[in-house]
Assembly symmetry: C2
Homo-oligomer: 412 residues x 2
């Protein structure tokens, strides 16, 4: 019997709104706290999680994040309670079992025990690796999420999916292991490269499209304010992972950004609370991801950031929904335009012609389908804030949708 | 709220008694089936676990086990349903994350999906590694235990503890992941080396001492029959792992051995059903293991088999219980004599004198205690079939007990 619940409240604190969203699944319950300036009072917040005890704390972070933020991170810790810091090099190539083993060995040598708590301070890779490390160190210890990217704050830090890659495929090794709590400090996004910020916001747009028309409208209305002057910044990743840098190319005011992150977290928290292990409802979070994953695989995870691939995948899914007359032309246009507005999303090709590129992507979704031994679930939009899951999407339909996506790409 | 249950029934089948013990924990429920000749009908037994579906099956085993038993193992599989076989080299040195990664990569390349089932066909190491592989492949798939040693049949195949070693320590990486079912074919013990068989029986004696006086008496009465002519066989391990061999040096008749395995499994199933994650009752299974683990660490896991180290550790724990007048001299003598009767247990030393050896072992138990951040729980015998857990055992008491153990060693 699953209990399902995602409650939210906001309080004013030092003139800042602090939002707290509760995630309650069959196997865990925890709060996600969202506000600017959270790091300033990090230690007291952590202490509240384990009243009476003083467990040892171990930060797992990337050298780049730590260089920029260690002063702020450590400021609230008493001098005799400084955490031990372990480093995870940036980049997807380090999201492997060898890294987990090295970190576990460091934990053991530093005396980490069953009561110790890991602090995952970084983007999606740091969160995935640290959560998995916590899942398997001494058969499971606790961890706290401290996500530093939009993508991690709105998506990967929630839901309990942790893991690493095999050579044979991404995220093939992992565990469901929920954090003890998540603290999303909006200020951390100030050092995020512009392309990373915009790509992360694509997941927020996805949340709006699948479940939250108010979030969608808010992002429509406030696009200029949110995107600032960063619209022309460099896009794409070179597989080197996210390097934060002390630039402020793109950043909305903290209040606007906090509102977007909070609304997105609420969507994911509601869905995950009702369906922890992706047997039903959780599939809607995969809107844009079927084609998105195919794009990432076809471009060897090098040309596009995850959020950028999902943005193109969402455009394809919208075309498919329109072709089935599930969505009105007006809602189709509003959705596609909002996705493009938060670009530029870098164009790409995976074959000589758009037709051949589309065929290549569809072939890759079939491979994905076969791996999961069964029907291909495809998430379609039926309006802004509404979806349905279809199991009867055919290859010709996918091909037409992918082809339309490439046509859209040529037009922008 | 934990539900706790361990029920058992036995049926006659082809003139053989098939015992089935049900383990029901908060997170899983499964049956342990014990009988000679189980492999002959393995495929139909597996099919019953997943009615309607035909999941892909992957055997993880050691080359030595497979060489001896693959004909019998495969005999019941239809020719179009042959399982894929993956090999784990023998020996503790392969109980590492690198092995898990290699096996996971092989699974992925062979097309294993979320519905696939692993068959852990081997001793404790095969079981621990395969269970952990199942725990983390695609965030968790199912596995079936097919233990081939006494130790694995009576102990390690039950309870859901899976994992691998770090350089920093044994079993520091792992997960709780229960099997879908366990099938213990008593015939497999026929190829077990004599020392392995006797060492495994020490865990059965432990089950008798902590919880089952009838099992204890049965092993007292039938010692000659059970041990056969193998009492003088080579003892000890050279870290090379258990190599089965087609010898029949030591083996009771299958019915007697099945009775011992069944009674031991029942003890462990009852305990684990009531306390899945070692918060209370499960600690009693550690009788003899505090000093036993110290002996294994001090001898670098090379001189003694696990059951042999536990046998000496049990003798020390019995001395401590006697020194506290918790156990009568008669019950002490019966218990110690039964342990020694199932020997020879190889003598060892870890320093120049017995005094120094005892001090070294006690120092190692303290290190163990510190690692678990708290009180040292020590399991004491209060009679045959009865224990209590003490938290106030002092180092001088331990020292005296370890010293008495070395004196016992000199006398036999």
């Amino acid at each position: 019997m699953h209990t399902a619940c995602a409650t939210m409240f906001s309080v004013r604190y030092h003139n800042l709104t602090v939002s707290s969203i509760r995630v309650t699944t069959a196997s865990a319950a925890y709060s996600v706290t969202i506000a600017p300036g959270l790091l300033r009072r990090l230690y007291p917040r952590l202490r509240k999680l384990t009243p009476g005890k003083t467990p040892r704390l171990f930060v797992v972070t990337s050298p780049a994040i730590w260089a920029l933020w260690h002063d702020r991170f450590l400021a609230s810790f008493p001098s005799n309670q400084q955490p031990t810091t372990l480093f995870l090099p940036s980049g997807e190539s380090h999201k492997r079992l060898a890294t987990v083993e090295s970190l576990a060995q460091q934990l053991a040598l530093a005396g980490a025990d069953r009561d110790s708590i890991l602090l995952a301070f970084g983007g999606g890779i740091v969160g995935d690796v640290t959560g998995f490390l916590a899942a398997i160190y001494m058969r499971g210890i606790r961890y706290v999420g401290l996500p530093t990217t939009v993508l991690a704050q709105v998506d990967s830090s929630l839901g309990g999916k942790t893991g690493v890659n095999l050579l044979a495929g991404k995220n093939l090794i992992g565990a469901f292991h929920h954090p003890l709590a998540v603290f999303s400090d909006i200020d951390l996004l100030r050092t995020l490269p512009a392309a990373e910020l915009r790509a992360g916001l694509q997941e927020a747009i996805k949340s709006g499209i699948i479940r939250d028309p108010a979030l969608f409208r808010f992002m429509e209305k406030n696009a200029d304010e949110i995107l600032g002057q960063g619209a022309s910044a460099k896009t794409g990743s070179d597989q080197g992972g996210i390097e934060h840098q002390p630039s402020k190319l793109v950043f909305a005011d903290a209040k606007t950004m906090a509102r977007i992150v909070t609304a997105s977290v609420k969507v994911k928290a509601e869905v995950v609370s009702q369906d922890e292990k992706e047997s039903g409802l959780r599939m809607v979070l995969n809107f844009g991801h079927t084609i998105g994953h195919a794009i990432e695989a076809a471009t060897h995870y090098r040309k596009l950031l995850h959020g950028e691939a999902v943005a193109w995948g969402s455009i394809a899914a919208l075309h498919l929904s329109l072709n089935r007359s599930l969505i009105t032309p007006e809602d189709f246009a509003r959705s596609a335009n909002l996705i493009l507005r938060y670009g530029p999303i870098p164009p790409f090709k995976v074959a000589a012609t758009p037709q051949a590129s589309a065929a290549r992507l569809v072939a890759l979704t079939s491979a994905d389908k076969k791996k999961r031994s069964g029907r291909r679930a495809f998430v379609l939009a039926t309006g802004i804030g509404r979806t349905k899951v279809a199991y009867d999407v055919t290859d010709p339909e996918l091909l037409a949708a992918a082809h339309s996506m490439f046509k859209t790409m040529q037009q922008v």
